[in-house]
C-alpha cells in the first residue's frame, strides 16, 4: 500500500512537470501519451490534483492547466525566505535606478535557481524563468555562484558534470570555466550573453552577495537586451549592482 501511495505521488509530480511556459494547457490524451500511462489512470490523478487546486480543468476548451495552489506555495516559499525578504527592497532600488530587470538567484546543490525578479517597466524586457534549475557553469549569475566555492569544490563539480552547450557561447571545457572563475574572483563581477539560451539577444551582468565572512550566499544580476547594452549602461549596471550587493550583504550580516 505504501509503495502504491508513493508511486501515485510520483505520477502526480510527473503530470505537473508536463506543463511549461510553451505548453501551459494540456489535454488528457496528450498527458497520457507523454507519461505512457493509461487515460483512466491519468484522469483519476488529474481529478485529485484539481480537488487540491493544483490543476484547473477548463470545460470550454477541455484542457487542464496549472491551478492556484502553486501560486500559494510559491508565495509561502518566498515570504519565508530569509535572503529574499531582505533582497526585495535592494532589487527594487536597482531596478528603479536602471529600469532593467533585476534577478536574485541562489545556489542549490549543483544548480542556480532564479528565485525572484524585479521587472523592468520597459516594453522589451527579458522573459526569465523562475524556479528552474540552471547549471552552475552557464551564465554570469551561475558563474558568480560557482566562483564563490572553494577550488576543491569546483574541481569536484567539474569532474562530475557533463558540460552541455546550451547556446553558441556556452563554456564547455573545464579550462574555460576555471579561467572564467579566476577572472570573476579578480574583478568581482561577471558578464555573459547566450550561454544558457539559444538566443544571445540577452546579456547578463552579475555580482556576488557575500556574508561578512566573505562566503557567497547569492547572486544579483541584471538582464538586459544586448542591443541596449553599451559601455555607459554596463558601467551604470555594475555600479548599481555593486552598491545593492553591498547593502544586501550588510543587511544579512
Amino acid at each position: 500500500m505504501a509503495e502504491k501511495l508513493v508511486s501515485l505521488v510520483d505520477r502526480a509530480g510527473r503530470i505537473l512537470e508536463c506543463f511549461s511556459r510553451g505548453e501551459p494547457a494540456l489535454g488528457l490524451p496528450q498527458i497520457s501519451v507523454r507519461l505512457g500511462l493509461p487515460k483512466p489512470t491519468v484522469f483519476r490523478i488529474l481529478g485529485s490534483l484539481a480537488r487540491h487546486g493544483l490543476v484547473d480543468y477548463d470545460r470550454a476548451t477541455n484542457l487542464y492547466r496549472l491551478g492556484f495552489a502553486p501560486l500559494r506555495f510559491a508565495d509561502a516559499l518566498l515570504h519565508s525566505h530569509p535572503i529574499r525578504a531582505k533582497a526585495r527592497p535592494v532589487m527594487q532600488t536597482i531596478r528603479d535606478a536602471l529600469n532593467e530587470t533585476v534577478i536574485l538567484s541562489l545556489r542549490e546543490g549543483d544548480h542556480r535557481i532564479n528565485i525572484d525578479s524585479a521587472d523592468s517597466r520597459q516594453a522589451i524586457a527579458q522573459l526569465l524563468q523562475l524556479g528552474v534549475r540552471i547549471p552552475l557553469y552557464a551564465g554570469a549569475a551561475s558563474q558568480v555562484l560557482l566562483a564563490g566555492l572553494a577550488d576543491s569544490e569546483i574541481a569536484a563539480y567539474l569532474a562530475r558534470t557533463a558540460l552541455v552547450p546550451f547556446g553558441a557561447t556556452t563554456l564547455t571545457t573545464p579550462e574555460a570555466i576555471r579561467k572564467r572563475v579566476t577572472k570573476i574572483r579578480a574583478e568581482g563581477w561577471a558578464l555573459s550573453a547566450g550561454e544558457f539560451t539559444q538566443s544571445s539577444a540577452a546579456a547578463a551582468i552579475a555580482v556576488p552577495v557575500t556574508t561578512p565572512h566573505a562566503a557567497t550566499v547569492a547572486a544579483l544580476h541584471v538582464s538586459v537586451p544586448k542591443a541596449r547594452l553599451d559601455a555607459a549602461l554596463q558601467k551604470r549596471c555594475l555600479a548599481a549592482l555593486t552598491t545593492g550587493a553591498k547593502a544586501l550583504s550588510a543587511a544579512l550580516g
Partner: protein, 260 residues
C-alpha cells in the same frame, strides 16, 4: 464492465484520492509561519506512518516540490513551486494586459492594486501591485473568499445573471433571507454605479474599491481593486479611487476586446 472491474476501478480511484490527499496535506503544513519541518514533526502532524511518510517526502523532493536541508534533515517548500507559479501566471492573458494598468493605478494612488478572478463560487486573487507606503495592504496570490464578501467578489457576483445570483445565494453557507436581500441591493448599486466600495467587511482594517473587467462579449471576467488601510480611506478618497479603478478596468476591458 464486469462487477469485479468496476470494484477494482473504485478501489483505484480511492487509492489515488488518498495518496494525493496525503501529499497535499503534507505540503499545506508548510507556511510562512512554519517554513521548516522535520520528519518527526510531520509524522505527528499528519499521523502518517514514518516509513510511508518518508517515501512520500522522498518523492516530493525528487520532483523539487520539497527541499531537504542537508544540515539538519528538515524539509521546506521546493523551488518547483516558483516554476509552476510562473507558468500559471504567465499563461494568463488578463494578467499580462493588466500589469501595466495596475502599475499606473498604483502610481496614481500609491495603494495596493489587486487583480482577481471568479473560480466557481469563490473569488481568487491572481496578482497584485503593492503600494510603496510603509503601512499598506498585503495581498496574496491564490487567496480565496466567498463571492459575496469583499469588493472584488461583489463585483464578480454582480457580473452574474439574476438567476445565477439567486442560485448562488441559495447554496452559499450561512446567508439568511435578510442578508440575501442586503447582498441583492448591494449588487443593484454596483451595477448602477459601475464599481463597489467596501470598508471593513473582509478585514476590519481595510477598505477597497473594485470595478469589473469585461471581455469582448460583455461577460465580467475579472475584478480590479484598490485596497488600503481603512484609516486612510475617506469618502473623498473613495471617490477618487472609484474614478481611477473604473478608468483602469475600462482600459483593461478594451484590451480584451470589450467595446461598449
Amino acid at each position: 464492465m464486469s462487477g469485479l472491474g468496476a470494484m477494482r476501478d473504485e478501489a483505484e480511484a480511492a487509492g489515488t484520492g488518498v495518496a494525493l490527499a496525503r501529499a497535499a496535506e503534507i505540503l499545506s503544513l508548510f507556511d510562512p509561519a512554519r517554513p521548516m519541518r522535520d520528519l518527526r514533526d510531520l509524522a505527528e502532524a499528519t499521523g502518517i506512518p514514518k516509513a510511508t511518510l518518508l517515501g512520500i517526502l522522498n518523492t516530493l523532493v525528487r520532483h523539487d516540490l520539497l527541499l531537504r536541508d542537508g544540515d539538519n534533515g528538515s524539509y521546506r517548500l521546493g523551488y518547483a513551486w516558483l516554476r509552476l507559479a510562473d507558468i500559471r501566471r504567465t499563461q494568463s492573458e488578463i494578467r499580462q494586459s493588466a500589469l501595466p494598468i495596475m502599475r499606473q493605478i498604483r502610481d496614481a494612488t500609491d495603494e495596493t492594486v489587486i487583480l482577481s478572478l471568479r473560480i466557481g463560487d469563490r473569488r481568487v486573487h491572481l496578482d497584485y501591485v503593492e503600494s510603496t507606503q510603509p503601512v499598506r495592504r498585503i495581498a496574496h496570490p491564490g487567496q480565496e473568499a466567498p463571492l459575496h464578501i469583499g469588493a472584488a467578489g461583489r463585483v464578480l457576483l454582480a457580473g452574474l445573471s439574476d438567476a445565477d445570483v439567486a442560485a448562488y445565494l441559495a447554496r452559499a453557507d450561512r446567508i439568511g433571507a435578510a442578508r440575501a436581500a442586503e447582498i441583492r441591493k448591494a449588487i443593484e448599486t454596483i451595477r448602477h454605479d459601475g464599481y463597489a466600495v467596501v470598508a471593513g467587511t473582509v478585514n476590519p482594517d481595510t477598505a477597497a474599491v473594485a470595478a469589473p473587467v469585461q471581455s469582448y462579449d460583455g461577460a465580467t471576467v475579472a475584478a480590479l481593486t484598490i485596497s488600503c488601510p481603512r484609516d486612510r480611506f475617506t469618502s473623498q478618497i473613495g471617490e477618487r479611487f472609484a474614478r481611477e479603478i473604473v478608468q483602469g478596468a475600462r482600459a483593461l476591458s478594451r484590451s480584451l476586446g470589450y467595446t461598449a
